[in-house]
Assembly symmetry: C2
Homo-oligomer: 318 residues x 2
């Protein structure tokens, strides 16, 4: 036994679990929360949407750039947007957390506070978790969701002639990362876009309800993720730059850093917008903006009809 010196080793595993789970409010979908061998989460549809993402300190986040609570929010958001991208409503979140013994307890409680906050924003519960010793901080999140009787929207259903549309911001996180990488901490709305996305979790289910034929969470970058849709669907996708939002803020930051803001919009990851394809005959749900169309140009993503010359997105270990 050691005494509580403000570190994870001092408070110990069971004390830490108490600190991050006691006196929390769960939504009705959390039928059994933390504290037993497993959680129980409502899945009234009879099928459960499930996804997992791991975030590693120094690879996916830096605690000198983001607060622990911002990292916690982001870790949950990147998973819940995957649930929403299937057309499902978030129901529950499970958390795996590894860290060294000398980690300050408040770093861990901050991380988990952020997770609770983002889960609550989405209407989901923090249903369970595991905390272990590791050499660096590793956060592994699993998110669950319910389709409410809808057909899941995969990457594979896009058809020639469909409209390509997005919901949410593009390029902001990449711009924020560029700002942080140069040692700046402002403009704060750009930097915060990198620290944590603020997805609208209703956009995915709304797209599914409106008949979206394919959908994806834009995590790797717009062109890279549209490439996943094109390959899975056996179609081409052409993005029209005149249809893309080009916010004045990104133009200003690009100009200050000598960077091309359009490149951020086309290839920047981590904004966790949604991209989807819709039948050209119908309208788009609220908040969705047309950015291009599905073509017969098999498996290829083009910009204004031409190949895009830069690396299209992020791949681990490359």
């Amino acid at each position: 036994m050691t005494t509580d010196d403000g570190t994870v080793a001092g408070i110990g595993e069971f004390g830490l679990i108490r600190a991050v789970t006691e006196n929390r409010r769960q939504p009705p979908s959390t039928l059994l929360g933390p504290g037993d061998d497993a959680a129980l989460v409502a899945s009234p549809d009879g099928r459960v949407v499930a996804t997992t993402d791991m975030l590693v300190q120094g690879v996916h986040f830096r605690l000198d750039w983001s607060t622990p609570a911002q990292v916690g929010r982001k870790a949950v958001a990147v998973n819940l947007t995957d649930v929403a991208a299937m057309g499902a409503v978030p129901t529950g979140v499970l958390v795996g957390l590894g860290c060294p013994g000398e980690t300050p307890t408040e770093v861990v409680t901050g991380l988990v506070d952020g997770m609770w906050a983002e889960a609550e924003r989405a209407g989901a519960g923090l249903a369970g978790g595991d905390m272990v010793r590791a050499d660096q901080i590793v956060v592994s999140i699993t998110a669950l969701g319910d389709l409410r009787g809808r057909t899941p929207v995969t990457r594979a259903g896009a058809r020639r002639g469909d409209v390509v549309a997005v919901h949410g911001r593009l390029g902001w996180s990449a711009a924020g990362l560029a700002v942080l990488g140069r040692g700046f901490r402002s403009p704060v709305n750009v930097v915060n876009a990198h620290r944590f996305p603020e997805p609208d979790y209703t956009a995915g289910p709304a797209a599914a309800g409106a008949g979206a034929t394919a959908m994806i969470d834009v995590s790797d970058g717009l062109l890279a993720d549209l490439g996943h849709v094109a390959r899975a669907s056996g179609v081409g996708i052409d993005v029209r730059t005149d249809l893309l939002d080009m916010p004045r803020r990104l133009v200003e930051v690009g100009s200050a850093l000598g960077a091309d803001p359009l490149h951020w919009v086309l290839t920047g990851g981590e904004d966790h917008a949604l991209a989807a394809t819709f039948p050209s005959s119908g309208g788009l749900p609220e908040g969705w903006r047309r950015i291009g169309m599905v073509t017969a140009n098999e498996n290829a993503v083009t910009v204004n009809g031409e190949p895009y010359r830069e690396a299209p997105g992020w791949e681990h270990w490359r």
Copy 2:
């Protein structure tokens, strides 16, 4: 781009994902497997049992003591026994895997091969996952299960007078760990008990069907885990050593190492036996053995009516 030099960095994230997911057979419960934003797993009960555990190289496993496939099997087994301990039938597994770029590809494919093998043994699918760069190998598993209409068996339902019973082996993993820690590699059945458990995933649902009042996966050690049941239920539990199996093999190994085999049986973790309490009026399901009874001695676990003097189990960072 780099070339494939037999490492994870060489094959790259997308090549690695292909290597561990292509040409795999999924059970019918995997409605959508890897390759989209999220998986879809059948949960016909309308509620899904979900649990997560993280395993870290050097903390939970050593690749000089176990093969990657053995580590993968164990990582899945420790989660699926948590599902079974609620009385549920395993349905799906999600995998988060972090490792350095210089990790040999065959270590990762070995890990995931072992995960597939254990999931298949349990009738569950490897429904999804995420692979990322990290400084050490970290495996995070989430397991899902279906209650098939049964009431979940928590830790909180034990009542005074109930019979305490276990299913599966106790002390073997601790004995195997002791053998490995002394630099030996035999007896192989003892060492293998530490490398991976071989749980019977039907024992938990059978106990739930037989009216078990409380149940727990024995991961931290028998006395520690019965302590969790005692506290959650507000009861005491007395274990009778004359009712415990004391296999000749453990006695021999204890004698060779100068260790007390009873201590392994009472406090050794990671065998992933199940412990449960049953009404004294009924019989026990097949394979379950009585080891003690529930007493009024609030929150206390005793051995032959007396407190047990050694540390009762494992706690992270302590």
